[in-house]
């Protein structure tokens, strides 16, 4: 509807070539130019630091030696592997907690939704430093002396990361649930004899695959780069490693940054690849 006057205008400008019509045409051309300028500024804003980082990392001689040093450093792979592992455990734990919660809120307790949303946004309000101090204070002594052992500290780290993942996971899952007819699917599977566990595992989780992947990706990105909590819990994670490297070496931190960017992009590409097919499937089916 809103396009109709524009269409009439453009026809006018072609047909009559009147000064008013030409003026409108040039104004539209100027608008397009502004759009390109904004795009270019945005592009440079994100791209120049990357180019700069790359150029800086190449100052070490011979070429790519900073990358070779990083890759050869057993600590690099060790910390990266540790952070990825913690990230995956976080994602699994977070999914197990968030999916049934979001599902139940949507199905049975829609009135609680604003409160649950508020709780999931708390990590944006409470800084990680407060969170980790709270954890250390609560779990350093009896009755739960978790911070005293490696395993206990790992548990605390995962628990803290699960909290950090709340905003991303809950939002992603809630959006996913909105796209499927949760009530009918629940009732259909119940009438076929399925209990809550079967329903969640065979129907709800598989239909939330794409949403879970996007939430999972964000969680992974945050966990892999997280510094504060990992440092205070004295965990051998990737965030503290980059920080340590940055304090001691010149070119290597730049190389590490670019490698982690590369890994992020690969993860994004994988997500897009896996997501494309199933998203189409779910949307069409959800549209009735």
């Amino acid at each position: 509807m809103t396009r109709a006057p524009e269409a009439i205008e453009s026809i006018e400008s072609i047909v009559d070539g009147s000064p008013a019509a030409l003026q409108r045409k040039s104004r539209r051309g100027a608008g397009r130019l502004v759009w390109w300028v904004v795009f270019l500024i945005g592009f440079l804003y994100f791209f120049v630091p990357l180019v700069g980082t790359f150029a800086f990392s190449m100052r070490s001689q011979p070429l790519f030696s900073a990358y070779a040093v990083v890759v050869d450093d057993p600590q690099f792979l060790g910390t990266l592997f540790y952070s990825f592992l913690i990230g995956i455990i976080t994602i699994v734990a977070s999914s197990i907690l968030i999916v049934p919660t979001a599902f139940w809120v949507r199905l049975r307790l829609p009135r609680l939704r604003p409160y649950v949303e508020f709780i999931t946004l708390l990590p944006f309000v409470i800084p990680p430093i407060i969170l980790v101090f709270g954890l250390l204070r609560s779990y350093s002594g009896d009755p739960f002396p978790l911070a005293g052992s490696d395993f206990g500290s790992n548990v605390l780290l995962v628990a803290a990361y699960v909290v950090l993942s709340f905003p991303y996971m809950y939002r992603a899952v809630d959006t996913g649930l909105r796209a499927i007819d949760v009530r009918s699917l629940t009732e259909a599977s119940q009438s076929l004899g399925a209990g809550w566990f079967t329903l969640l595992v065979r129907v709800i989780f598989p239909n939330l695959r794409v949403s879970l992947l996007s939430g999972a990706f964000l969680t992974l990105a945050i966990v892999v780069g997280e510094y504060t909590i990992a440092t205070f819990l004295a965990r051998p994670a990737f965030g503290p490693y980059i920080s340590l490297l940055g304090g001691n070496k010149a070119y290597e931190p730049a190389a590490v940054s670019l490698i982690s960017f590369g890994l992020t992009w690969i993860a994004m590409g994988l997500l897009g690849l896996i997501g494309r097919q199933s998203r189409q499937k779910i949307q069409v089916a959800g549209a009735h």
Binding site: E187, A188, S189, L192, N207, V284, H288
Partner: protein, 366 residues
């Protein structure tokens, strides 16, 4: 033998009654429809049978077993939803086999049963497709097969054809009825479409405002509506305001023209409503002893029939149907004509004010 029994079912949401004192006994293999406008409680009753809602009072039993408080997954009742509710992440075959997998049946048995059902719904080669690759009608057939796969004791269908277009709706309802007959499964069908209910069912339960208005076989519901609501909701009906001239001989006056009712009416001088089906009225004087004269107000061509509306006096209007025939000379607007109908075709309904209120509400809702 009574198979599905609902006794004194009530459902209260806060202070309002969604369903009030609902009693029904369905035989094994019977096809029962719940018919009524939206908000009449038909879907709520169906959901109580399925176990998705708990009745506030009353009991539900299947095959003599009380299932009122059983969770839905332990009732063995199949359900087909208006929105199909197929699992988008599963193929057609996986959808149909879902209930059997939940029951941990052996794989080859599941495969055999799925093939059997794909044949039953005439989609033998679509087992590998995903729901989004099927049309609406095909999806609903798969949903039916999925519900039937577990051999439920009762099959519930909640407006299963509402989302489909007219032609597919008619074809699919025939198919549903044929499959139901073939399997002999006790079925409850919820619809607001009276044609669907009348053409499919062994018995129809007409509901309004959470209460049963009438239970009966389709011809009984159509020809002998028990309440003004049923009369107005099922079929097209002429409603004429009349005054009783003589109650004992059922003589009534419609705008000064006298007609006779089928049975003794209320006391003389009382206002009543006369209900008349359009198909019971004939143009001319050969249709029966009751004659009414009026001016043609409108003539509508409806394909196989031609519906003419006439005005009798100042207030009353009357519609009647004639079979379309190329030789038929349709009445012209403004023409003064006589129509006739037998006394047996009239149905005298008492309580004028409440009739109007119920009918207006039904029209507004339906």
């Amino acid at each position: 033998m009574t198979f599905l029994t609902l006794t004194g079912i009530q459902k209260q949401f806060g202070t309002t009654y969604a369903v009030h004192d609902f009693n029904l006994s369905a035989e094994k293999g019977e096809f029962v429809s719940f018919l009524g406008p939206s908000g009449c409680g038909k879907t709520t009753t169906l959901r109580m049978i399925a176990g998705f809602e708990q009745p506030t009072a009353g009991t539900i039993s299947v095959g003599g077993t009380d299932i009122t408080h059983r969770p839905p997954n332990r009732r063995n009742i199949g359900m087909v939803f208006q929105s199909y509710a197929l699992f988008p992440n599963m193929t057609v075959a996986d959808n149909i086999g879902f209930g059997l997998r939940v029951r941990k049946k052996p794989k080859d048995q599941i495969r055999k049963r799925v093939d059997e059902l794909l044949g039953l719904i005439n989609l033998p080669d679509k087992g590998g497709r995903y729901p989004y690759q099927l049309s609406g009608g095909q999806q609903q057939r798969v949903a039916l097969a999925r519900a039937l796969a577990v051999e439920p004791e009762v099959l519930l269908l909640d407006e299963p054809l509402s989302a489909l277009d007219a032609k597919i709706r008619v074809a699919l309802r025939k198919e549903i009825r044929a499959i139901q007959r073939q399997l002999g499964i006790t079925t409850v069908y919820v619809t607001h479409d009276q044609e669907e209910a009348l053409s499919l069912s062994d018995r129809v339960v007409v509901m309004s405002e959470g209460r049963i208005e009438q239970i009966g076989a389709p011809p009984e519901i159509y020809n002998f509506p028990a309440t003004p609501f049923v009369a107005s909701f099922v079929g097209t009906l002429n409603l004429l305001q009349a005054t009783v001239v003589d109650g004992a001989s059922a003589r009534l006056s419609v705008n000064g023209q006298e007609i006779r009712g089928a049975r003794a009416a209320a006391a003389a001088g009382q206002r009543v409503t006369v209900a008349l089906r359009p198909e019971a009225i004939e143009l001319g004087e050969s249709g029966g002893t009751n004659l009414l004269r009026g001016t043609v107000e409108d003539v509508s061509f409806l394909g196989s029939i031609v519906r003419t509306r006439i005005k009798i006096g100042d207030a009353a209007t009357l519609s009647f149907d004639q079979f379309n025939d190329p030789g038929l000379a349709a009445s012209t607007i403004g023409e003064l004509i006589t129509v006739s109908f037998p006394p047996e075709a009239t149905l005298v309904l008492e309580g004028v004010a409440s009739v109007d209120a119920t009918i207006e509400q039904a029209i507004a809702e339906g």
